[in-house]
């Protein structure tokens, strides 16, 4: 795609359209965030912690699962941002 987009592709309008897309749960950009977040969790947590994580999800204890992730992966959102940033810079 890199070569297909013309110069000036990162237009403000395009930014706006992408952000507007976030209002739709099944939009590609939301799917991408979900997938990237899960990938970060799965590739960062140890096996033991992943198993605990699955266990908490199985018990519908989402809050504890969230605490586990945020405790074990400091700056989780920042790390996610870096991943999304890297990808956007490659595909935009």
């Amino acid at each position: 795609m890199n070569n297909n987009l013309q110069i000036g592709k990162l237009s403000d309008k395009l930014h706006e359209m992408i952000l507007q897309d976030m209002d739709f749960e099944d939009s590609e950009v939301n799917r991408y965030l979900d997938n990237q977040a899960l990938n970060l969790i799965l590739t960062t947590l140890s096996l033991q912690r992943r198993l605990e994580f699955y266990q908490l999800l199985g018990n519908n204890d989402f809050n504890s699962a969230k605490v586990l992730v945020l405790n074990d992966i400091p700056d989780f959102h920042k790390k996610l941002l870096v991943k999304v940033e890297d990808k956007f810079q490659k595909i935009l």
């Binding site: 309008k13 930014h15 950009v29 997938n35 959102h77 941002l81 999304v84 956007f88 595909i91």
Partner: protein, 518 residues
């Protein structure tokens, strides 16, 4: 409609399809309601049908505005409105409405891309058309607005495709990781049960992703990543060829008669007025019609997602301005609504004054004095002093000042700071830098440029990077700086002219002015 006429049967299949699509969705003839009101306008059902046709054919043509427009025209030519027994009059009304909608959206898409219009402008059809006309006139080359707007849609489509490919890859990778984990813990479990565990886990993970990232966090991440991608492309010089476009557009629109109304408006398709489909629109796609249309205007605060990520990114930005080593900005956040004036003056004193102060203490001292002198009304966040009272107040610290109410267009700001002798300006605008309800003070530090894109540098006691205590967001038009100041993209600057500017003429600043902004 098109039956029985061999010439018409040779018509563009898309046009035929469009007519069939409309025909199929028209209410039954027996239905008294129909799609046209007693006043001869489209009613709610009619407008819904228009929205449906527009969406359907916009999708079919991959977001090609001109193609949909041509299909509409072709379809229109196939109608026989003189045949009173047919429903062609209703269909004609729908077709013209769709055409009006295409004209509006193409111009809106293009104008927004050019001017940050949506951030501060009135999105009524008449305003959009006026903007597009002005912008088009500004361009030295001919621009096909429909092609430009289509290109933007195409970019979005391409981005979606790229993300879709990424999603497929990530989903496969994640699935594999989870499957391996399940195998590890359920070695003895039969395959079908493992599959069942996996399916259960997938639905839980979906629910979990909503918890780990709430909507505002999602927006922050995406907005931050987009901003970073933009900055990278600036640094690489990709958009330097746009310099002149930015300048001419801003200058023309900065003129008083061309300025946007200071309302933030959202377009609501259900409120699309029939006037939009007036004959004036149908003179040809190249023309921008001169019409005055009344769209529903919904006033709303400009509010964009706060970004927490700029601080890191700033380190990689090359700012073409003179070093501020001798004048490191001293930022202070106001602690209540009416304190923006004292905070701005405290920042001014602390940054540029002869003596060094504790800025917070200074702000409190000035606040007490302002309250005592009745310069501010802390309950209503009002600044109620006269200009001469403020000038006198500033003179106590050795800052001479003058005032102007015709200053704050980007053109004026840029011109003012071209003279290195000129000093920072205290501005009185509203918290979004608009004309209306000008009761907020901030410090205008100068103009700077990052690889061809111009920025206004501000120190606003209400707006700074997170952690400094300010309340307002650094939105997508702004780049927060670690020192508490921020850069405001000149293209998004609202172009206010009647906010107050208090110009500082201070000797102690003058002695070091070469170290200020260029």
């Amino acid at each position: 409609m098109i039956e029985g006429n061999p010439i018409e049967e040779m018509a563009d299949p898309q046009a035929t399809l469009m007519l069939e699509h409309i025909n199929a969705k028209l209410p039954d003839e027996e239905d008294e309601k129909g799609i046209i009101s007693e006043r001869g306008r489209l009613n709610k059902e009619g407008r819904t049908l228009v929205d449906d046709v527009y969406s359907e054919f916009f999708k079919r043509t991959n977001g090609n505005y001109r193609e949909v427009l041509n299909i509409c025209k072709e379809a229109e030519s196939l109608l026989h409105v003189e045949d009173t027994d047919s429903r062609d009059t209703e269909m004609l009304k729908v077709l013209r409405s769709v055409r009006g909608k295409i004209v509006y959206h193409a111009h809106k898409t293009w104008a927004e891309k050019e001017m940050f219009l949506d951030k501060f402008g009135d999105e009524s059809a008449s305003n959009i058309m006026s903007y597009a006309k002005i912008l088009k006139k500004d361009k030295s080359i001919d621009i096909d607005i429909y092609e430009e707007a289509t290109r933007i849609e195409k970019e979005k489509h391409q981005l979606d495709e790229a993300l879709s490919i990424e999603n497929l890859g990530l989903e496969q990778q994640n699935l594999k990781l989870i499957e391996e984990d399940i195998k590890t813990i359920a070695t003895e479990t039969p395959e079908n049960e493992r599959q069942s565990i996996l399916e259960g886990l997938k639905s839980k993970l979906k629910a979990f992703s909503e918890r780990i990232m709430e909507p505002h966090t999602r927006r922050k991440i995406v907005a931050g990543a987009l901003a970073a991608a933009s900055i990278t492309s600036f640094v690489l010089g990709y958009i330097s060829h746009n310099k002149n476009d930015i300048k001419t557009g801003t200058q023309t629109l900065a003129k008083a008669e061309n300025q946007p109304k200071n309302t933030h408006v959202y377009y609501d398709s259900s409120e699309l007025p029939d006037d939009l489909y007036a004959e004036e629109y149908l003179t040809g796609p190249e023309e921008i019609p001169e019409v005055d249309l009344n769209f529903q205007v919904i006033e709303q605060q400009t509010k964009s997602p706060p970004l927490e990520i700029y601080q890191e990114k700033n380190e990689s930005i090359q700012i073409n301005e003179v070093s501020q080593e001798n004048y490191p900005p001293v930022y202070v956040a106001q602690t209540f609504d009416g304190q923006c004036g004292p905070a701005s003056i405290a920042m001014l004193y602390s940054t540029f004054g002869r003596e060094k102060f504790n800025v917070k203490t200074k702000m409190q001292d000035i606040t007490s004095e302002f309250i005592e002198k009745k310069y501010i009304n802390p309950d209503k966040a009002d600044i109620i002093s006269t200009d001469s009272q403020i000038i006198e107040f500033l003179s106590n610290e050795g800052f001479q000042a003058t005032t102007s109410y015709e200053f704050l267009s980007f053109e004026n700001i840029s011109k003012y700071f071209e003279d290195p002798k000129n000093k920072p300006v205290i501005i009185n605008v509203n918290s979004n830098y608009l004309n209306e309800n000008t009761d907020h003070w901030a410090l205008l530090m100068g103009v700077t440029e990052i690889d061809g894109r111009k920025y206004i540098r501000l120190m606003d006691p209400l707006r700074s990077e997170k952690g400094l205590g300010a309340e307002e967001d650094i939105d997508v038009r702004m780049i927060g700086m670690p020192d508490g100041s921020f850069l405001f993209d000149a293209r998004g600057w609202p172009g206010v002219t009647n906010g107050l500017g208090i110009f500082i003429e201070n000797q102690s600043v003058a002695s070091k002015d070469s170290k200020l902004m260029h």
